[in-house]
């Protein structure tokens, strides 16, 4: 049974139909890369799965429970699916530790000491154990993004959505974040990630989705998608003749 079931999902902003019927099933432990031109609807798809956008048609379900736009269902869904943003979106008034503790205590009502212990564990997992008391503006972009990952992991999600998590980083900081993601993939975390890191996608992903004009234009294992693109659009995107 698929972990994430996306069926005929449609989304429009006014006149602009951004998702034109997306179908995608993600099995537990799968690592899926979503590639495509800017504006093809990649972010919108991830945001729909996390309930940050309401969908206009079709259905999304995660681990058997349906995504519905009321607070109870949204909360249930978001407890299962974490999201990492391009701009990190750390809470500036809290330390790294505070960032990771907050939602545990507020949403899950985990007692503070347990939440703090979990925060230490997760920060250690992303290699930032010593940054527990540092504020976001005292951290590099790569470190901030790793804190954001730790923050999502502390909620113990069964899947993570990653939207261009390295695009806002200076080139020399990309590797440290990708290393963490690679680790997660190896540990069996289900990942759905929008990325421009083609080499990373080829190495780590089980399947690659090429989106074009609001549709899944091509999908398959990385060796097929990258080596034997079928459509002219994907060929052009990959820069092969």
């Amino acid at each position: 049974m698929p972990l994430i079931e996306i069926t005929d999902v449609r989304k429009r902003f006014g006149e602009n139909e951004v998702l034109k019927g997306i179908d995608l099933d993600v099995k537990p432990g799968e690592v899926i890369a979503i590639i495509g031109k800017s504006g093809s609807g990649k972010s919108t798809l991830l945001r729909c799965i996390n309930g940050l956008e309401t969908i206009d048609g079709g259905s999304i379900s995660v681990a058997g429970s349906q995504l519905l736009p009321d607070e109870v269902h949204l909360k249930a869904l978001r407890l299962k699916v974490g999201m990492i943003f391009q701009q990190f979106n750390l809470f500036p008034h809290l330390t790294a530790g505070g960032n990771v503790i907050l939602s545990q205590t507020v949403v899950k009502k985990t007692p503070k000491p347990e939440a703090a212990a979990m925060a230490r564990k997760m920060l250690e997992r992303v290699g930032l154990a010593e940054k527990f008391d540092a504020y976001p503006d005292e951290l590099s972009g790569g470190q901030q993004q790793r804190v954001a990952i730790a923050r999502a992991l502390a909620m113990q999600p069964i899947a993570l959505l990653c939207d261009e998590v390295t695009s806002a980083l200076d080139p020399e900081l990309v590797a440290e974040v990708l290393a963490v993601v690679r680790e997660l993939a190896a540990e069996g975390m289900t990942l759905l990630m929008v990325t421009h890191e083609m080499k990373f996608a080829r190495d780590v992903c089980s399947r690659v989705v090429f989106m074009h004009q609001g549709r899944v234009h091509e999908i398959g294992p990385p060796e097929d998608v990258f080596a034997k693109p079928k459509t002219p659009e994907l060929k052009q995107f990959l820069g092969v003749q």
Partner: protein
Amino acid sequence: MNYAFSFSWLTEYYPVLLKGILITIELIAVGGLFGVALGTACAWARALGPAWLKPLVSAYVELIRNTPFLIQLFFIFFGLPSLGLRLSELEAANLAMVVNLGAYSCEIVRAGIQATPRGQFEAGASLAMSPIQTFRYVVLVPALQRIWPALSSQVVIVMLGSAVVSQIAAEDLTFAANFIQSRSFRAFEAYFVTTAIYLALAILLRRALAGIGAMIFARRPAR
């Protein structure tokens, strides 16, 4: 002009002044605390609250911001008893301060909320926080920090505005001055001294608010 200034009345009347100072401090403490709390609640309602609440809050804010504090005070103290709400002078003064500062701080806090990057709301949501939880734990503190200087200025303005509560015989600092001048016939000196005290209070209040801000927004490790 052959007028001899005299401040000898001070030796007799300084306890009156002291009492007035205390009441003025009490007024701004209560007004500041509850006024900012009310304003924050209204700012939430106006920026993020349910649709039916927004016009009500807007009406309140506009009404207060576009009428003199003196009239608000008279309306509360003299007008409300005909609706069966009879308040003492001090209660009416306190209520008027809260209602007045509530409206101004609503606008100030709202500006702080609106300056919050969208990603902060989305990060809260993606961590399964409810909109209220996101507001309370994610948005509020940085928003208040952003507007703390503006809010402090407004609190000082309201403190200085509180001088008019003497007009309903609430026994604040200005009331003390009025009392002294009617007894000692040293009107100019009484108001001169009182004005100097207000100036000192304004400077101290500004310092205190800066200190409170530094305390609230201090960086501290999570435990």
